[in-house]
């Protein structure tokens, strides 16, 4: 059960990454750092003003969104091979964000512990912490909204069109540059918004971004781009696999699981993915 709940959160975590990678073809290694940035904003709001992490999500999304939008003119200057160079560039950005977080918030461990969140709730005969359930429900609602956005609105359809075929979309009158910009803003906002939930689940430090980044990569490679259900399925499987690994072999195995899955996925479907232009 814990694995399923974590899975919904993972899918939300990966949604911003998948969106940016799918549309703008940017492999954003700073994704996890944007999540951590949002986490610090959420933690600050909680400690100073007592805001619940859920309430803090829109505000936490703001700085991450602004950063992602500000990076757009820089990314436009990146030469070929684009995916590879964008990886290196966002790695540099990741270092800068970590450094900024360290100076602003110090290297202390932070955690959001909202009152009452650890109270048990009975769900299908299994007792789970209420806060975690709330996180999972929030994640599912946001994923459902994204799903509607992608399938039901003209804007979402143009996002998917650009992701499938840039030139084709341009011929159909969609401006890919504009779509890129919106995808970056939305993807960055999603990463930031995930932050407060992240800080309610685990301790956060300025260098904690690598974990969420890897999780997002695993799910995106597994679930593909632009498909919320693929991400959700991947998230659930990963959450379950981690829970089983941690139960069978102890906590260290949890960390190795997602990395091992990444290697397996790469071996199986490595070159035939959406990122056919990677390289």
């Amino acid at each position: 059960m814990g694995g399923l709940i974590t899975g919904a959160f993972y899918a939300l975590l990966a949604s911003g990454f998948a969106l940016i990678f799918g549309v703008a073809r940017i492999f954003n290694l700073a994704h996890g750092d944007l999540v951590v940035l949002g986490a610090y904003v959420g933690e600050h709001l909680w400690r100073v003003a007592g805001w619940s992490p859920i309430l803090a999500m829109p505000l936490a999304a703001l700085p991450a969104m602004l950063l992602a939008v500000a990076a757009r003119p820089l990314l436009a200057r990146v030469g070929e091979p684009f995916v590879l160079r964008s990886i290196v560039l966002t790695f540099g950005a990741s270092l800068l964000i970590q450094s900024g977080l360290q100076t602003t918030f110090t290297a202390d461990f932070r955690l959001i512990v909202p009152p009452g969140w650890d109270r048990g709730v009975s769900l299908l005969g299994v007792r789970v912490a209420g806060g975690r359930l709330l996180i999972a429900v929030t994640a599912l609602i946001i994923l459902a909204l994204l799903h509607l956005l992608f399938t039901r609105t003209f804007f979402g359809k143009s996002l998917r069109a650009v992701s499938l075929d840039r030139e084709g979309a341009a011929l159909a009158g969609i401006n890919p540059v504009w779509v890129d910009r919106v995808a970056l803003a939305l993807g960055g906002a999603l990463a930031g918004a995930t932050g407060p939930l992240f800080a309610a689940i685990q301790y956060v430090t300025p260098s904690a971004g690598i974990g969420p980044t890897l999780t997002a990569i695993v799910l995106t490679i597994f679930g593909g781009v632009g498909s919320m259900s693929g991400l959700l399925l991947g998230g659930l499987l990963l959450g379950l696999a981690e829970a089983v690994a941690a139960w069978a072999g102890g906590a260290p195995w949890r960390e190795v699981t997602s990395l091992g899955l990444l290697l397996l996925l790469l071996r199986w479907r490595g070159t035939g993915l959406v990122g056919g232009r990677a390289g």
Binding site: L89, F91, P252
Partner: protein
């Protein structure tokens, strides 16, 4: 493909680079004499060489367009293997260093097995995952590695006896010259590979694996060799690091920084040039230790992050690429 890496002397500009390289080599050999009274300066020199070695080994893969995000894996294996062999196996540090480097090379073969069919971003991701997996293993396999405590009391390389030669170069000059020797061997290997058919095969792979295969290049075999050689020297750098500090722990041996630094240093200096990675290591490591740390302690992330963004946006072929373009511009088109 605009420029050949410095394969032989093709243009007067590359000859200039070659002279600068020879000059640098002479300075490097004499450096312990110049800084003799200061152990600290000699230590800085040694560490610069260790990072140069790591960056140079990284750039061997870059010849084939393979951007490794996991060189910490080689470095850490070298560090732990040499520390364990000399500490628990009672081997001489010289022997353990060589065995550890060979073990890292063997891991290169394993990495080729896992990631050999991947290209571009996916190869980078696979190496990133491998490095992180090894870090977690080193952290939790306490029976072998003592976990987060690390291995303490690793024997150092033998010191020079006080007096005599040590008066001229300091007692810790063995560390320095061991690093210099390995770096020289790495550079020699690199320049030899660039001239050999293997170098052409690496470049062919960079320009597209399908095309390379069509012209008879066995990409998997070439990648296997490149990963093994790169691992050999990166492992040697790790082993040196362990013996210099006489201590290894997961945070220092498998730090993600050890995967990032060679990438940044090599790209900053110019990974297509033989001495580009060395130049990048010299500028960034010494710049960080001597200048940046004093102005803003802990601000090294700004320096490295800024350097890599600068390179990607403004200096696509690194500092040496920029210098070459500058010199070419002055002489007019050749």
């Amino acid at each position: 493909m605009r420029k050949e890496p410095s394969t032989g002397v093709r243009s007067p500009i590359l000859a200039t680079f070659r002279w600068a390289g020879t000059g640098g080599m002479i300075v490097a050999v004499l450096l312990p004499v110049l800084v003799a009274p200061s152990d600290y300066l000699l230590y800085l020199g040694t560490m610069t060489l260790v990072f140069s070695l790591l960056a140079e080994s990284w750039s061997l893969l870059a010849q084939a367009g393979l951007i490794s995000f996991g060189h910490a894996a080689f470095f850490g294996i070298g560090a732990y293997a040499s520390a364990l062999l000399s500490l628990r196996g009672q081997l001489s540090p010289w022997v353990s260093l060589i065995l550890a480097a060979l073990l890292a090379a063997a891991f290169g073969l394993v990495a080729a097995e896992v990631a050999g069919n991947l290209t571009g971003a996916y190869f980078s991701l696979a190496t990133l995952a491998m490095g992180e997996i090894l870090r977690v293993v080193a952290l939790h396999w306490t029976g072998l590695t003592e976990g987060a405590w690390g291995l303490v009391g690793v024997p150092g390389l033998p010191r020079l006896p006080v007096g005599g030669l040590a008066r001229l170069v300091g007692t810790r000059a063995t560390d320095y010259y061991a690093a210099l020797l390995l770096l020289a061997a790495m550079c020699r290997t690199q320049s030899w590979i660039q001239r050999a058919p293997l170098g052409l095969a690496l470049q062919a792979i960079r320009q597209g694996e399908a095309r390379a295969a069509a012209s008879g290049v066995d990409a998997r075999r070439v990648k296997r060799i490149a990963l093994a050689v790169s691992g050999l020297f990166a492992g040697g750098a790790g082993a040196l690091h362990a013996h210099i500090f006489q201590w290894v722990d997961p945070a220092s041996a498998f730090s993600i920084n050890l995967s990032v630094l060679p990438l940044i240093m090599a790209m900053f200096g110019g990974s297509r040039y033989l001495l580009g990675p060395v130049l990048g290591a010299v500028i960034l490591y010494l710049g960080n230790e001597l200048i940046f740390q004093r102005l803003a302690p802990g601000g090294h992330l700004w320096l490295y992050g800024g350097a890599v963004i600068l390179v990607i946006l403004a200096l696509p072929h690194g500092i040496l690429g920029w210098v070459e373009a500058l010199l070419e511009g002055r002489r007019g088109p050749v």
